[in-house]
Amino acid sequence: MSEVLSFPGHAPLKARTGRSALPLSVRQLTFRTEGIDILRGVNLSLESNDLTVLMGPNGAGKSVFLRLIHGLLQPSSGDIRWDGAPLSKAVRRSQALVFQKPVLLRRSVRANLSFALGLRGFVNRSARLEQALADSGLADLADRPARVLSGGEQQRLALARALILDPKVLFLDEPTANLDPASVLMIEDVIGRVRASGVKIILVTHDAHQARRLGEEVVFLHKGRVSEHSPADLFFNQPQSAEAEAYLNGKILV
C-alpha cells in the first residue's frame, strides 16, 4: 500500500502512544427508525489496527453503523464496547469522524483547525497547527475562508481537522465520493500515513478500487447484517458469502 500511496517528502506521522482503543466489540446491534429496520442484529469484533473497509450496497446500514459505533446515534438495542467500555464522551474524544459532506466553520482554514485544537488541552498549539497545515497541503490556503475551497480542499481540511485532535480511531464515511482523482490521491496518501502511525481506521466506501487499494480487512454489510468479515485479500479474491460475490461481480444487490 505504501509504495502506491506515499508522496515524496512526507514522513509518516509520528506513532501514537498510550493505550489502544481496541478491541471494538459489537453485539446484537439493532437500529430501527420510522418503522424501518436499518440494522438487524450486527455482531462484529475488530481487534487489530488493520484498516477496516465497510462495504455494502446502498441502504445496507453502513453510515448508520458508523454513527452508532461513534455514539452519534443511539441503538435500538444491542451493545457497543470500545476496549470494554461503553460509549461516552470520553470514548468519543479519542475518535474522529470525517463525513462525506464536510461541515466546515464559516471561517478561515486556519481558524477551522485552531477551533478544533482549542477543544482539547494540547500544548504547543501553534506548532501543531502549522504541522497540520503542512501535512494536509493547505498551508498556502490557510487564510482563505473554508467555504470557498474546492470540494477536494474542503475534504482535506475536514480530514486535517479530524487528525489534529490526535484520534486513536478515525472513521471515514465515503470521504472521497464525488472528488476528482487528484484529490482522491492526496486524501488516500494522508489515510495511508495515518494508518502507518497506528491509528485504527474504519472506512466506508462504495469504491471497490479504493477498498482494494486501502483495505486490509473488509466487513460486508447487507440488509442490516454482517454478511462477511474477511481479510481484504481473501474478500476480493474468494469472497465467502454469496452477497459479497454478487456485489463484487457488479450485480445489483437490493
Partner: protein, 235 residues
C-alpha cells in the same frame, strides 16, 4: 396644498442647514435606540442561541413566549414600564421616569423578544448543519453557542438591524415613559406626533424624512450584508 409644498421646502431647509433642534432630536433618538439595541443584543443573542440548541423542560414554552412577545404593543410596554418606574411603583426610588434611561428600558423590553426569536431561528438552522460535527468533536455547550453566534454573524446583523428599525420607529412606549420633554426626552417619533398636532409641519416633515432615510439606510445595510454573506459563503 400650497401650505404642504411650503412645509416641504422648510423641512428641506431644516435638514440642509442641520437645524440645531433637529440635530438634537435625531441625536437623542439614535443614542437611545443604539443603547437599547446593545442591551437587547447582550440578552437576546445568547438567550436565542441557547433556546436553539439546548434541550430542557419548559424550552417550548419559552420559544412560544418569545415568538408571541415579538408583537408586543409599544403602548402596553410603555404603560408597564411607566407603572414600574413611577413614584408609586416598585422602582420609583430610582427616579428614572421621564429620562432617556426609561426610554432605553422600554425599547429594550420591546425588541429583546424580537432578537431572541429571530436569533433562535437563525441559530437553529445553522445548528442543524453543525450538530453532528460538533457532537463528533465533543464541543462543550458554551463553545458551541459562541461558535454558532460567530458563524451566523452576518445573519445576526440583519436580526439586530430589524430590532433597531423596530425600536427607532416606535412612538407609544417612549411617549409614555419619556414624556416628550424638550431637550431631555424628545425623540424623532414623539416630536413628529407633537409638531403635527401643533400644525408645525416643517419640523415634523424634516424629522419624518430623516426617519425614512434611517429606515432606508438600515434596510440597505441588511441587503448589502446579505449580499456580502452570499458572495463570501457558498451555501
Amino acid at each position: 396644498m400650497q401650505d404642504f409644498a411650503h412645509s416641504f421646502v422648510l423641512a428641506g431647509n431644516l435638514i440642509l442647514q442641520a437645524d440645531a433642534a433637529l440635530v438634537e432630536i435625531v441625536g437623542l433618538s439614535l443614542q437611545v435606540t443604539a443603547t437599547a439595541l446593545v442591551v437587547s443584543a447582550a440578552i437576546g443573542l445568547p438567550l436565542g442561541a441557547i433556546l436553539a440548541i439546548a434541550r430542557f423542560p419548559g424550552r417550548m414554552v419559552l420559544v412560544v413566549l418569545s415568538n408571541a412577545l415579538m408583537g408586543l404593543p409599544p403602548v402596553v410596554v410603555g404603560l408597564t414600564v411607566y407603572m414600574l418606574l413611577s413614584n408609586a411603583g416598585p422602582l420609583g426610588v430610582l427616579g428614572l421616569l421621564y429620562t432617556p434611561t426609561a426610554m432605553v428600558i422600554a425599547q429594550s423590553i420591546l425588541i429583546t423578544p424580537i432578537i431572541i426569536a429571530l436569533t433562535r431561528q437563525v441559530i437553529a438552522d445553522l445548528h442543524q448543519d453543525y450538530s453532528d460535527t460538533f457532537r463528533s468533536m465533543v464541543v462543550p455547550g458554551h463553545t458551541a453557542v459562541a461558535a454558532l453566534l460567530w458563524d451566523a454573524r452576518y445573519s445576526l446583523m440583519t436580526v439586530l438591524l430589524a430590532g433597531f428599525g423596530r425600536a427607532i420607529a416606535e412612538v407609544g412606549a417612549v411617549m409614555i415613559v419619556g414624556g416628550n420633554i424638550n431637550h431631555v426626552t424628545r425623540v424623532m417619533t414623539t416630536a413628529i406626533a407633537l409638531e403635527t398636532s401643533k400644525g408645525e409641519l416643517a419640523l415634523a416633515l424634516a424629522l419624518g424624512i430623516v426617519l425614512l432615510l434611517i429606515a432606508f439606510a438600515v434596510n440597505g445595510s441588511v441587503a448589502l450584508l446579505r449580499g456580502a454573506e452570499r458572495s463570501l459563503v457558498r451555501v
